[in-house]
């Protein structure tokens, strides 16, 4: 897989244009621009309800330089399925050319882990030729930082607040990408906007495969995670360096670690404690100051998931 250089990347006509209303430091538009930079036209983008949708299409403006549709919160995958079916039927009756049309879905964690999960599961089971990109900012940010199935253990959100009885979210993050792998989707990968070459390579590989593809991208949110807006990319790096969010791909059942995570697997001394990641964010402040046992619990969970991943990827 040949990668793309920054020089080439900046020449690509952007498909998400400037002028959108995302917060400073938001990684969602960075992810979208990186993904779409290597998605050839014709393309249709499908968006679940969420920050990305509302911040890019405040009528009478739109930031989308490509065909784009938002239907509702929980049905982006089904809507995309319908678009794919339409192109098939329209080709059969000769109404459109035989050119391949790429269909890319962007859904947040709420629209993917939770309310949109059934629709996503159906899309994968039916085998539609669609790339589904989850931008995971780990809570319902659009409605004001409520916990989702993607919110990590111990994080304080407005519906899992740090209280005297319940100290933040009691449950761990749902292993959404593993669940998609279990559907036998032909390509599943994880990525962050900090490891952008890895992200782009995964998009390119995904698009070379026919069938449902799933890319889980970590999308730090300065407002929700409570950190300085200049730190987003740094926090992505820490998420990977601590193995809180490892970079991997699973292509037709074969697991591989990629980029920085592969380096860490080969040199375990590089693996940083999860504390390095959580101490950068105010959503974990109470854990850092008052609940050291919760750091241990989170570390144990991260370690177990990482060990499991090493086994699957057969890294010796």
């Amino acid at each position: 897989m040949t990668s793309i250089s920054i020089k080439e990347l900046v020449k690509v006509r952007p498909k998400l244009l400037p002028g959108h209303r995302h917060c400073p430091g938001c990684t969602a538009p960075i992810i979208v621009k990186l993904v779409l930079a290597v998605v050839d036209e014709p393309v249709v983008v499908v968006n679940a309800t969420g920050c990305l949708q509302v911040a890019t299409t405040i009528f009478p403006y739109t930031s989308w330089g490509v065909p784009w549709i938002h239907n509702a919160f929980e049905n982006a995958a089904a809507t995309a399925s319908g678009i794919e079916a339409a192109f098939k039927a329209l080709r059969k009756r000769g109404a459109i050319s035989d050119d391949k049309v790429n269909i890319v879905v962007f859904g947040g964690d709420g629209g993917t882990y939770d309310i949109g999960f059934q629709s996503l599961s159906g899309m994968i089971e039916r085998g539609h030729n669609i790339l589904y990109v989850l931008y995971d900012n780990e809570a319902y940010m659009n409605t004001g930082i409520q916990r989702s199935g993607g919110t990590p253990y111990g994080a304080s959100t407005t519906t899992s607040p740090y209280g005297t009885v319940i100290p933040g979210k009691p449950q761990h993050k749902k292993p959404i990408a593993d669940i998609v792998v279990a559907h036998k989707a032909p390509y599943v990968g994880t990525a962050t906007p900090a490891h952008w070459v890895d992200l782009i390579n995964k998009v390119k590989k995904a698009l070379s495969i026919t069938g449902p593809k799933f890319l889980h991208v970590l999308s730090p949110c300065p407002r929700g995670w409570r950190y300085d807006a200049s730190m987003s990319i740094e926090i992505c790096k820490l998420a990977v360096d601590t193995c809180y969010f490892p970079l991997w791909e699973c292509e037709k059942g074969t697991w591989r670690l990629t980029d920085r995570s592969l380096i860490i697997a080969k040199n375990p001394a590089l693996k940083k404690p999860v504390e390095e990641f959580i101490k950068t964010q105010e959503r974990f402040r109470h854990i850092m100051s008052e609940r050291s046992e919760m750091i241990k619990e989170l570390q144990a969970y991260v370690d177990a998931m990482w060990e499991d991943l090493l086994k699957r990827a057969e890294v010796k």
């Binding site: 405040i58 784009w68 319908g82």
Partner: protein, 407 residues
């Protein structure tokens, strides 16, 4: 032109019409009593009788979502459901009309839970009356067949661009064999053509483009419009619904030319209403029962009539008032309830339509057939007798009656 007469139930008649209408994408989820429609369509697709893509989804919510995505990409789409399935689609009913996607859906009317019940009443679709869908209620399997064919032309008309719901009574129509006169495939195909998307002018492109997701043209569909623009979008939908009235008439007339069959002016049909003292207004299969009783009573010299409402949305209030001018007593037959309201939805709208007249008729609500309770001819006869008394000037004891219920 007369076609072949086939013995079909209402569900099969709907499926046959869909088979003939050059539909591109079908997506549905099974629910009693709609299932026969999707089974037949699946067979047509499995046997290569139609080129449509059939997407077997995991819920009604996804069924409508698939149709919406497909319609947004330029496809002609069809789905079918009943009761709980329609309820699960609820939020998307509004999105479909808001995005102006001409999806056609057959609703095989069935009561809503709880208690769970598979039999007919109209509470499922009547509840969706404000969702911006055109709503037809059919009386026979023949009308179901004819209306589905007309629905595609109405939905996709450039002045309309709205989704259409064709409602047929669960079991009474969906599962009852009837002789249905069908048109040759080529005649139907010519009548409906293929879906051709309308053009819209995009200011930022400075040109007209087809309003579909073609992979190239950067249109944004499903944007956010707040207090500064939302109302204007809603108003455009309201105006399109209003324009649909003349389009329904026009398509009904055109269809009469190819089939020899029409349904009044497309909006209402009436029997014996001119010079009548008492008229019953009704939607759906029970119109046949009511007409049967009216005929019998008229043969005995009683001046009674029937007005069948075919289009509930748009609501043909002017046409109804005009058709029933001079009638002294009107009974409105509702097959849905609205707990806590003063009477059921059809009654309320119809009564409202007469409010501005100087000389208003007495209008009484009869709520019947809930959860599939049969409406017997004898009951209809008693209702007519009550109405005739009222027409003579006897003040009715009540204006809202629940017919055929044990208390």
């Amino acid at each position: 032109m007369l076609g072949t007469v086939k013995a079909l139930n209402g569900a099969e008649a709907v499926a046959l019409a869909v088979r003939q209408c050059n539909v591109d994408v079908i997506s549905a989820y099974p629910i009693t009593p709609q299932t026969i429609i999707v089974e037949r369509l699946s067979e047509y697709v499995a046997n290569g009788e139609i080129y449509a893509e059939y997407v077997n989804v995991e819920s009604e919510h996804s069924a409508l979502s698939v149709c919406m995505g497909a319609a947004a990409a330029g496809a002609r789409t069809f789905t079918a459901t009943s009761s709980q399935g329609l309820a699960l689609m609820w939020e998307l009913l509004y999105v479909t009309s808001g995005l102006r996607l001409p999806v056609v859906m057959a609703v095989v009317n069935r009561a809503l839970s709880a208690p769970i019940n598979i039999h007919c009443d109209h509470s499922d679709s009547i509840g969706a009356r404000d969702s911006g869908w055109i709503q037809f209620y059919v009386e026979t399997s023949q009308e179901a067949y004819d209306t589905v064919i007309q629905a595609f032309r109405i939905a996709e008309h450039s002045e309309v661009q709205l989704p259409v719901m064709v409602n047929l009574d669960g079991f009474y129509l969906s599962h009852t064999l009837e002789n249905v006169s069908t048109l040759p495939d080529s005649v139907v195909s010519d009548f409906v053509g293929f879906r051709r998307p309308v053009n819209v002018k995009l200011e930022y492109l400075g040109r007209e483009v087809p309003a579909v997701l073609d992979g190239i043209t950067p249109i944004s569909l499903g944007i956010i419009a707040l207090s500064d623009y939302y109302y204007e979008f809603k108003m455009m939908l309201i105006e399109a619904m209003s324009k649909a009235k003349s389009v329904i008439r026009e398509v009904n007339n055109k269809y009469r030319e190819i089939s020899g069959r029409g349904y009044g002016d497309g909006l209402i049909t009436s029997y014996g209403v001119e010079g009548a003292d008492a008229v019953l207004v009704i939607m759906g299969s029970a119109a046949g029962t009511v007409r049967h009783v009216a005929k019998e009573l008229r043969s005995k010299g009683m001046r009674v009539g029937v007005l069948k409402l075919r289009s509930f949305r748009p609501f043909p209030h002017e046409e109804i008032v005009k058709a029933l001018r001079g009638v002294k007593a009107i009974g409105v037959m509702d097959r849905a309830t609205s707990p806590g309201a003063y009477g059921a939805p059809l009654f309320n709208e119809l009564r409202n339509a007469f409010y501005d007249l100087d000389d208003r008729p007495v209008i009484i609500n009869y709520i019947y057939g809930i959860g599939g309770r049969d409406l017997e001819p004898l009951t209809v006869k008693h209702i007519y007798e009550d109405l005739l008394e009222t027409a003579k000037g006897v003040r009715p004891s009540k204006y809202v009656s629940y017919v055929g219920v044990r208390r």
